[in-house]
Amino acid sequence: MTGFSRVQMIGVALMVALIVLAPSVLYPVFLMKVLCFALFACAFNLLIGYVGLLSFGHAAFFGMGSYVSAWTIKHWGITAEVAILLGGATGAALGLVLGWLAIRRQGLYFAMITLALAQMVYFFCLQAPFTGGEDGIQQVPRGKLFGIVPLESDMTIYWLVAFVFLAGFLLIHRIVHSPFGQVLKAIRENEPRATSLGYRTNDYKLIAFVLSSMLAGIAGGTKALVFGIATLTDVHYSMSGEVVLMTLLGGLGTIFGPVMGALVVTAMENYLAQFGAWVTVTQGVIFMVCVLAFRRGIIGEIGAKLKVTL
């Protein structure tokens, strides 16, 4: 009914339990960061894992979503949920334009085009007045949920973030297991054959791209509210690389992989932050190890050991 197998149901239950229990043990702001990146990585995984499209420009949607949420809540004084949805709408609109351009080419060209287009967005953000250039948009208020519930307390906003993440996670699961999702997988396996069966593959790819960029925008908007800041870091291409790393490390095309990857990468960055550029080196090494010896990722390997799809 839900599209989850029994093992996956256990996995989801475990994940929800961890999300509920974790803030009593770990610092909630750290957990919120993990959840935002987990949603971002799940959105990215929708493309690479189920359509086989490697987007190297997802920072554009994450970052623009973050800027728009931050700007609107700061200057228009709108409520928190509207700001997050506006971030998602921004991601979707930008995804529609960039995706429409990028799906003209396939494979590695697609990756290069998304990278270049995202770089254009980066330069736009660097110069546009509303982003605050190098300073970014600072002191963004968290606002009130539905105009009623103040979100200043970390624990209150934590539940909002947890809800946004779970909603996004379930939406992606729903998409992947819908008839639409089956067509996406057919395109991943053999695009010419899907075309010959009468599917307009470009339309499917574009819709998937827009959905993915919308969720990336929502993730970015949520992150802007949590941290009260939207900066160039969020649109920089290294952010695109980071989301690739999270998904690859967790397991491409797995349900729980991107979440696990986001947790590991964010934790690693937190603990290694004092060592400066060693973070970059470590990330690079993980990339190389994953590609050379660990292509299924953490969750993929666990799944293979237990002979289940996770």
Binding site: L108, M112, Q119, M120, Q127, V279, G284, L292
Partner: protein, 295 residues
């Protein structure tokens, strides 16, 4: 002072020169990417990092061993080329049976490692590299002053690009290379050592990037980020030109440099984005790129 289209001549020609110089680097880097892609079917994301490494090696040769600019113009590409050779043999050659996407991911990781290591060792502020004495000063061309070093860079870049073109299109080695790009198993059946050819191609492409790095060292300061700031633009150049033709890469590289330079004069706000805009237009009008073949 004379003006062209309301722009003072020296300003126009000055920016045009900067554009040609950037174009020279775009051409050399996209050329290497195209050659490597043709043979190995991977996008070498580490190209920018190896370009930076070329500049750093020449800086190290000068500061640690006292070896000057001209010898390091040969030595640095050799050293980095050998590094590329080792990389191909030990790591990259493991990927040929996998989806091409993995090559991109691996070399991206490689770029992070190289840049991170250099940033750890040298910080990110950048170090100056003095223009060699023989190329100091400037020449009065009548309509503008041409700094000698910049003239030299343009000249050398053109020569190197044409030489690469000639090697690939006009020599026996190039003919084998092109044949192996077309159909590797068949060429191998004729007794050509294709794996060695692949290794040499990768090392050669890397050496070209390192050579560009040495040329760049006196112009831009030597710093760990110099490659990554170039490489994203170079990817757009590659998309615009298509990777099918060597001459195409050269022409596209220089042409886009000039366009970027002109934009700096007439509409400076767009100078950072103009190449990406050209890419969008090319994608709309001719998705395969200006000189591209069918994928």
């Amino acid at each position: 002072m004379f003006t062209i289209l309301g722009i003072p001549g020296p300003l126009l020609f000055g920016q045009l020169l900067l554009g040609v110089i950037n174009g020279a680097f775009y051409a050399m880097l996209s050329l290497g990417l195209a050659v490597i892609f043709g043979m190995l079917n991977i996008i070498n994301f580490a190209h920018g990092a190896l370009f930076m490494m070329g500049a750093f090696v020449s800086w190290m040769l000068l500061n640690y061993l006292g070896i000057g600019y001209f010898p390091s113009l040969i030595l640095s590409p050799l050293i980095v080329g050998v590094f590329g050779l080792v990389l191909e043999k030990t790591i990259i050659s493991r990927l040929y049976k996998l989806d091409h996407v993995y090559g991109l991911l691996l070399t991206f990781g490689l770029a992070l490692v190289i840049e991170g290591l250099f940033r750890n060792a040298y910080g990110s502020s950048g170090m100056p590299y003095r223009i060699p004495d023989a190329l100091q000063g400037a020449t009065n061309l009548g309509f503008m002053f041409l700094p000698n070093y910049r003239g030299w860079v343009v000249l050398v870049a053109i020569v190197v690009c044409l030489a690469t073109w000639a090697i690939i299109e006009k020599t026996f080695l190039g003919a084998r290379l092109r044949a192996a790009t077309e159909n590797a198993p068949l060429v191998q059946a004729f007794g050509v050592d294709v794996p060695r050819l692949i290794t040499l191609t990768y090392a050669g492409g890397i050496a070209l990037a390192a050579f560009a790095g040495v040329l760049a060292a006196p112009i831009y300061s030597v710093n760990p980020n110099m490659g990554s700031s170039f490489i994203n633009t170079v990817f757009a150049v590659v998309v615009i030109g298509g990777m099918g033709s060597i001459m195409g890469s050269i022409v596209t590289g220089f042409g886009l440099g000039v366009i970027e330079g002109l934009t700096k004069v007439f509409y400076p706000q767009a100078s950072a984005t103009v190449i990406f805009l050209v890419m969008v237009i090319v994608l709309l009008a001719m998705p395969r790129g200006l000189f591209g073949k069918a994928v």
